[in-house]
C-alpha cells in the first residue's frame, strides 16, 4: 500500500516489538511492557495482536485470522483484509495451511503444529486485575510470586456455587512460575496451551503488554485437589458436522426459543463435513 511500510508498522517499531518478543519468550508468562502504537483500528479490537502479527509476518507467510473461532466474523474479515492490503500476504481459512494465526477468544480445534505461530488478541493481560486494580500492586505480586489472592478468589466461587465460576480467561501458571491470563478463550481451550507444539504470542495493545508461551511449555490451569480443573461439556452434538468433542455455539432458530448447537471453529466444522460427505 502506498505511503506505508510493509505490514503497516515502521521498522523501528517492529524492532522494538521484536526485542520485547525475545524477552517474552525467554521469560514465559511474564508481561513485557512495550511501546504500543496506535493502529488504524480501535483499541480493544485487536491492536495488540495486530502489532505482533505485523512485527513477525513475512512476505512468504500464509495468514489466518479468526474471531470466536470463525474466519468469517466481521472483525476477522476486517483484520484479514487489513493484512492483505498492507502486507500483500496470502491468507487462508485452513488451520493446517497457516504459518501465522491471529485469534480472538479461541484456539483452533485442529492441533497446531511445530513452526506455526498463534497470536492472541488480549484485552486485559493482567490476571490479577479484577482482584487488585492497581498496576503497582499487581507488579509487586508477580515479583514476589504472591498468588494467594487468586486461589482465594477461586475458592470463594466454590464456597458460593460449588464450582469455580470462571468459564473463560481462566488463569494458568506457566512453567511453574508466572500466573498468566490466557486471554478470554473458553476454559475448554486451556488444555491446548499445555505442551503445545506451536509458539503462542499474546499482545495487549491498549495496555501495552506482550507475553509468550514457547512450544513445549508446561501450562497448568489453577485448581484445587478437591476441585480439579474441568472443561465445559455439551449433551448435544454439532448440528452440522456431528462433532461431540468441539466447542459448540448455541444458535437460536426461532421465536419459540428453539436452538441448535454448531462448532464455533468454522474451519474444523467444514473440514469434518468434507470428510463426512
Amino acid at each position: 500500500m502506498n505511503g506505508y511500510n510493509f505490514a503497516y508498522l515502521d521498522e523501528q517499531t517492529k524492532r522494538m516489538i521484536r526485542r520485547a518478543l525475545l524477552k517474552a519468550v525467554a521469560i514465559p508468562g511474564y508481561q513485557v511492557p512495550f511501546g504500543g502504537r496506535e493502529m488504524p483500528m480501535p483499541y480493544g479490537w485487536g491492536t495488540g495482536g495486530m502489532q505482533l502479527t505485523a512485527s513477525i509476518l513475512g512476505g512468504d507467510d500464509v495468514l489466518k485470522v479468526i474471531d470466536q473461532g470463525a474466519d468469517d466474523t466481521t472483525n476477522a474479515v476486517s483484520i484479514r483484509a487489513f493484512f492483505e492490503r498492507v502486507a500483500g500476504v496470502e491468507t487462508t481459512t485452513a488451520t493446517a495451511a497457516a504459518d501465522v494465526i491471529q485469534t480472538r477468544h479461541r484456539i483452533p480445534e485442529t492441533p497446531l503444529e511445530h513452526d506455526q505461530i498463534l497470536v492472541f488478541q488480549v484485552p486485559i493481560p493482567e490476571p490479577l486485575r479484577f482482584i487488585e486494580p492497581s498496576e503497582q500492586e499487581t507488579r509487586l505480586m508477580h515479583a514476589l510470586e504472591e498468588y494467594g489472592v487468586m486461589h482465594v478468589k477461586l475458592y470463594e466461587d466454590i464456597a458460593r456455587y460449588g464450582h469455580i465460576a470462571t468459564t473463560y480467561a481462566y488463569p494458568v501458571k506457566v512453567d511453574g512460575r508466572y500466573v498468566m491470563d490466557p486471554s478470554p478463550i473458553p476454559k475448554f481451550d486451556n488444555p491446548k496451551l499445555d505442551m503445545s507444539a506451536a509458539l503462542m504470542l499474546f499482545g495487549a495493545g491498549r495496555e501495552k503488554r506482550l507475553y509468550a508461551i514457547p512450544p513445549y511449555t508446561r501450562v497448568e490451569s489453577l485448581d484445587f485437589e478437591d476441585h480439579p480443573f474441568e472443561i465445559q461439556q455439551w449433551d448435544e452434538h454439532c448440528a452440522l458436522c456431528g462433532s461431540d468433542h468441539s466447542f459448540l455455539d448455541e444458535v437460536i432458530t426461532d421465536d419459540a426459543g428453539n436452538r441448535l448447537f454448531i462448532c464455533s471453529d468454522t474451519d474444523y466444522c467444514l473440514t469434518r463435513r468434507g470428510e463426512v460427505a
Binding site: P33, G44, D67, P123, E135, Y161, A165, R206
Partner: protein, 366 residues
C-alpha cells in the same frame, strides 16, 4: 437451515458506503470544505489537535469532516495518522513567556503589568441564541489595538521573585516520552503532564470539578491564563545554531494553589499546570486542577478524592483507549457468552436439585 450471523467483506464495504452517503448529506447542499471547518469550527479543530497530540490544523479539520463532527472519532483518526510519522527532530522547550499574546487574564490580581487582555472569549457573552446567524447576517470587523502587544511577564514569575510560590526546577534530565514507552506507575510529573495534555477534556473537566466540590480540594486561583503564538525552535548540531521552524498557537493555565509548608520549608503557594494546542482554555484549567490534585502524595496531603489517585486518573484519561475498549463490547463475544450460559444452566440445575431434595426431606419430616 439457519446459520449464525456472518459478516462478509461485502457487508462491511456496503456499511462504509452508506456511512459516506450519510456524511455527505443532501446533495443539493454545498459540500462542507476543510477550509471552512478550519476557519469556522476552529475550537473543535484545536481540541482535536490537542487530544491527538498533533499540531496540524488542516488535517485536524479533515479528520472532523471525515468523522462527521464526532470529536472522539476525529481525535482517533488524527492520532492513528500521527503514529506513522517519522521523528525528524526534537524541538527546544517552548518558552510561553515569549508568547505573542492574544488573550491573557489573571484572576489573582486586578491589574497586572501588560494588562488584562480579554481577546476572543465566550466569557461574558449572554448565552442567547443569535437568530441573526440563522439568517446569515453580516459579522462586523473587530476593533483592534493600534500596536501589537509587548512581551508580557508571567504573573507567577512575579510571585517567584518574592519567594511566595514554589520554584520549578529543571534538573536537565531527559523527560519520559509517553508515545514511546508505556507508563510505568508511579509516573513522574513530566509523564503525567503529557498524559493529561492528550487526555479527554470532558473527563478532566469532571475530575477538576470534583476537586472543587471537596473530593481533594486544593483551593485554586487562576494565576494566569494566556493564549497566543509561540515560536518552535530546533537546535541544529551541524551548524551549532538554534533556528525557528515555525509557530504554534497555545493555551496555558498556571494555577496558584493553597500554600503548603513544613518545619523546614516556609509556607508558600503551590502550582498546577495546564497546556494545550490552540484555543483550549477550559481544558487547560481542568488540567491544572487535576495536575495539582495529583501532587497530593508529593506534597504530603491526604489522598481522599478520585482526582488524587494517579493510576486511576491517568490510566483512564485517553479517549482513544477508552472509546476503543468500551466500543469493543460490540464485537462478538458468543464464545464467552456460551461459556457463561453453560455454567449458569449447570448452577441452576444444581440449585433446583438441592431445593427439590430439600423439599422432599421436609415433606418426609411432616
Amino acid at each position: 437451515m439457519y446459520v449464525a450471523v456472518k459478516g462478509g467483506e461485502q457487508a462491511i464495504a456496503n456499511a462504509h458506503r452508506l456511512l459516506a452517503d450519510r456524511r455527505r448529506g443532501e446533495r443539493e447542499q454545498a459540500e462542507l470544505s476543510v477550509e471552512q471547518i478550519g476557519g469556522q469550527l476552529r475550537l473543535a479543530v484545536d481540541r482535536v489537535m490537542s487530544e491527538a497530540s498533533l499540531y496540524d490544523p488542516e488535517l485536524a479539520a479533515l479528520a472532523l469532516k471525515q468523522a462527521s463532527g464526532d470529536l472522539v472519532e476525529a481525535v482517533f483518526l488524527l492520532r492513528a495518522y500521527r503514529t506513522t510519522l517519522p521523528r525528524l527532530a526534537v524541538s527546544e522547550p517552548l518558552d510561553t513567556g515569549t508568547m505573542r499574546i492574544e488573550r491573557r487574564i489573571s484572576a489573582a490580581y486586578k491589574d497586572i503589568p501588560g494588562g488584562q487582555v480579554l481577546g476572543p472569549t465566550y466569557d461574558y457573552t449572554h448565552r442567547l441564541l443569535d437568530f441573526m446567524q440563522l439568517a446569515e447576517g453580516e459579522t462586523p470587523e473587530p476593533a483592534r489595538a493600534d500596536a501589537a502587544l509587548a512581551r508580557c511577564p508571567q504573573i507567577l514569575d512575579l510571585l517567584n521573585a518574592e519567594g511566595l510560590i514554589e520554584r520549578e526546577h529543571d534538573d536537565g534530565s531527559e523527560p519520559a516520552d509517553i508515545t514511546r514507552d508505556p507508563p510505568d506507575y508511579p509516573v513522574d510529573r513530566a509523564a503525567r503532564l503529557q498524559m493529561l495534555a492528550r487526555g479527554d477534556e470532558g473527563y478532566l473537566l469532571a475530575l477538576g470539578y470534583s476537586t472543587q466540590r471537596g473530593y481533594g480540594r486544593n483551593h485554586p486561583f487562576a494565576g494566569e491564563i494566556r493564549l497566543g503564538h509561540v515560536d518552535v525552535e530546533i537546535h541544529v548540531k551541524e551548524w551549532d545554531e538554534t533556528i525557528c521552524i515555525g509557530e504554534i498557537a497555545l493555551s496555558e493555565c498556571q494555577m496558584i494553589n493553597q500554600f503548603g509548608g513544613s518545619r523546614e520549608v516556609a509556607p508558600q503557594f503551590t502550582r498546577g499546570y495546564g497546556l494545550a494546542f490552540g484555543h483550549n482554555e477550559r481544558k487547560t484549567l481542568a488540567m491544572a486542577l487535576v495536575d495539582r490534585a495529583l501532587r497530593a502524595e508529593e506534597l504530603g496531603e491526604p489522598i481522599s478524592g478520585p482526582a488524587q489517585q494517579a493510576e486511576f486518573v491517568l490510566a483512564h484519561a485517553d479517549s482513544v483507549e477508552a472509546s476503543g475498549f468500551v466500543s469493543h463490547l460490540k464485537l462478538p463475544h458468543y464464545v464467552d457468552f456460551q461459556s457463561e450460559l453453560e455454567l449458569l444452566r449447570r448452577l441452576r440445575k444444581a440449585h433446583g436439585n438441592a431445593r427439590g431434595s430439600g423439599d422432599a426431606a421436609m415433606e418426609d419430616a411432616v
